[in-house]
């Protein structure tokens, strides 16, 4: 259901490789079952033709790869960026995490990406082939003779259901049509939790965070987490740990992780997408975003390069920490 075709991306990649604008292409390579695409640096036309893929499963946010890849490759890298990826792209530039000159960014429209676990819940296990048919996916499994028809919109990733922007905020070149910033309902779930009693909130998070296996996927996939040395890996930081020893450490890890990206998180949703335990980690980040918006005025990290994140900024008449709760109690 993507509006832009794989062929359009391939043509763009081929021509930029051929004319020497770029020496490598950061794209998706196909997997075994249609949905398991893997990011890959392509350097030849042949490789692109054989393995490049663009479909409803290309959720991976490439921005973070630029931090390590721009060092490893001579010349420019072509990177395909979906609208949400461009926010991370800008945020990383704001933080001087890669050299803009070494990247050729091609913005591509995105109609939303599919959540594989939702898809599997709809079709059952045993997927052998996935075909696109307009706004639907035709999914063949080894158990059924006829492919199942699944509307894409029923199995979108959470972040795509609540997409905040179809507009690219950074690119060298745009393929397809530019979209708009969307007034999404992305804070509704946060508001629902806020409306719970403290006991309910505690129980909710206790249940969610106790499932954490501390695989670090959320951190390692997060485009805001590009620290040279993460505090959780640093024995001198005082918070280093490898396993959630108890409920305190589960909470601490997620509080600090969210705090460290507060004001820098673009809400790209990679954390929740990659969590093997389906913990809704984005809610923690969104809580910070929602608070920051409410306390200090609307701020979208990555909307522009060089913006000053609210937590490294202030005004003389900011609200007091205590007023945070007064305000909420008043609203209630």
């Amino acid at each position: 259901m993507q509006t832009i075709t794989k062929q359009q991306l391939l043509d763009k990649a081929d021509s930029l490789l051929a004319n020497g604008t770029v020496t490598a292409v950061l794209g998706w390579s196909k997997g075994e079952f249609g949905y398991d695409v893997t990011p890959k640096m392509f350097t030849t036309k042949e490789d692109l033709e054989q393995n490049f893929v663009w479909n409803d499963f290309c959720g991976v946010n490439f921005s973070k790869y630029l931090v390590s890849k721009t060092d490893r490759f001579e010349g420019k890298i072509l990177v395909f960026l979906k609208p949400c990826d461009t926010y991370s792209f800008n945020q990383l530039l704001t933080e001087h995490r890669f050299d803009r000159e070494k990247v050729y960014a091609v913005g591509i429209p995105c109609e939303g990406m599919v959540d594989v676990s939702k898809l599997k819940a709809a079709t059952g296990d045993g997927i052998s082939e996935i075909k696109e048919d307009g706004d639907n996916l035709l999914v063949t499994t080894i158990y059924e003779d006829e492919p199942a028809t699944v509307p894409c919109r029923d199995v979108l990733l959470e972040r795509c259901i609540n997409c905040k922007s179809k507009k690219h905020v950074a690119y060298d070149e745009l393929l397809g049509d530019e979209g708009e910033i969307i007034d999404s309902a992305r804070f509704d779930e946060v508001a629902q939790i806020e409306a719970m009693t403290p006991d309910e909130r505690f129980a909710f998070w206790q249940n969610e965070l106790s499932r954490c296996i501390r695989c670090n996927a959320c951190r390692d996939a997060c485009p805001a987490c590009t620290c040279e040395k993460c505090v959780f890996d640093n024995p001198n930081s005082g918070v280093e740990n490898k396993a959630p020893a108890n409920s305190f450490e589960e909470k601490m890890f997620h509080i600090i992780r969210a705090y460290h990206v507060a004001g820098r998180c673009t809400d790209c949703g990679e954390c929740s997408r990659v969590c093997p335990q389906n913990i809704p980690l984005h809610l923690l980040n969104r809580k910070f975003i929602k608070d920051i918006n409410e306390f200090y005025g609307e701020y979208q990290a990555g909307a522009e390069v060089g913006s000053r994140a609210p937590l490294v900024d202030y005004t003389t008449d900011d609200l007091e920490p205590g007023e945070v709760f007064d305000r909420r109690d008043m609203d209630a």
């Binding site: 079952f33 398991d36 045993g126 158990y143 996927a217 396993a243 959630p244 997408r273 389906n278």
Partner: protein
Amino acid sequence: MRKCSLDTINAIFEAIAKTAKLYIPADDKDGSAVYKQWEEGVLWSNALNTVRSPKDFFFPQMETLMEFKTEGKNIEVIDTRSETEDFVIFGVRACDVKSFEVLDRVFLTEPVDSYYAARREKGVIVSTACAKPAETCFCKTFGISPEEPAGDISTWKTENEIFFKANTPKGEALLEKIAGLTEECDETAVDSQKEKIAKVMDKLPLKDLTTDGFGGGKTDEFFNHPAWDELSGSCLGCGTCTFVCPTCQCYDIKDFNTGNGVIRFRCWDSCMYSEFTKMAHGNNRLTQKERFRQRFMHKLVYYPENNEGLFSCVGCGRCLSKCPISMNIVKVMKKIGGKMSE
């Protein structure tokens, strides 16, 4: 062989739970499953398998090894080991049963890991044949028969019934305890179930993946394979694959300063982490490529080399479905040499 109606399965669980702690796969959120201790109301999940493997039962993610208590400048050493209780894990898939063999070879050979051994001794494994494997399943590649799961007791589930077969004295003892709820039967129904499963297995997309070419003695052949760069190129270095893997057995031993003493514990570690096996001189695997290579070389070459050809992968497919960027052992095997038999 004994059987009972599936309608009475909760009575079976209740009977087992009276004699030992019973853990069964139960539904978690979003259609996934998780081992939960059985109690009234906990139902056996229909999901194929749990996200976390049952290795936790013998080799938990974190366990305290010993403690030190400090008082001023005095230190007292405390042995925190306690008697492990009997427990039963129910509904273990063939692949995961096999994984215990892989772990046993690590933890039960000299020097025996007493923490692991104690749990292993107390645990009874009740396996279940897989009627509906997923596309990510490739246990056959490692010679595992999902229709004939091992374990202390093997079970087969048909539409209305469940069949039990004890394989070990431990299993027989447990079957004895639920004898009143089950009845003796022949193997006809199970045989036809096995046949069904075998047919399904032939439809799996990864059915042709073999370990040909891998195994002990192949270090030189694969170590400098040019494909490692590309394969590892997008690896994020997270530990998802290792933490969901039923055979990954690496751990770190760490001290936690409580303020009044020190707790020495071990926790799972991941060879994908930059801090893995870091030593005084630094880290001997410097880049993600080397860490990535280590994981797969270990599973496909080093481990079989030391364990009579046994591979340290059981084809459960967890890493295939959980890797954030969908890189996995299947892609590695196909790329660097696992041949597809035609």
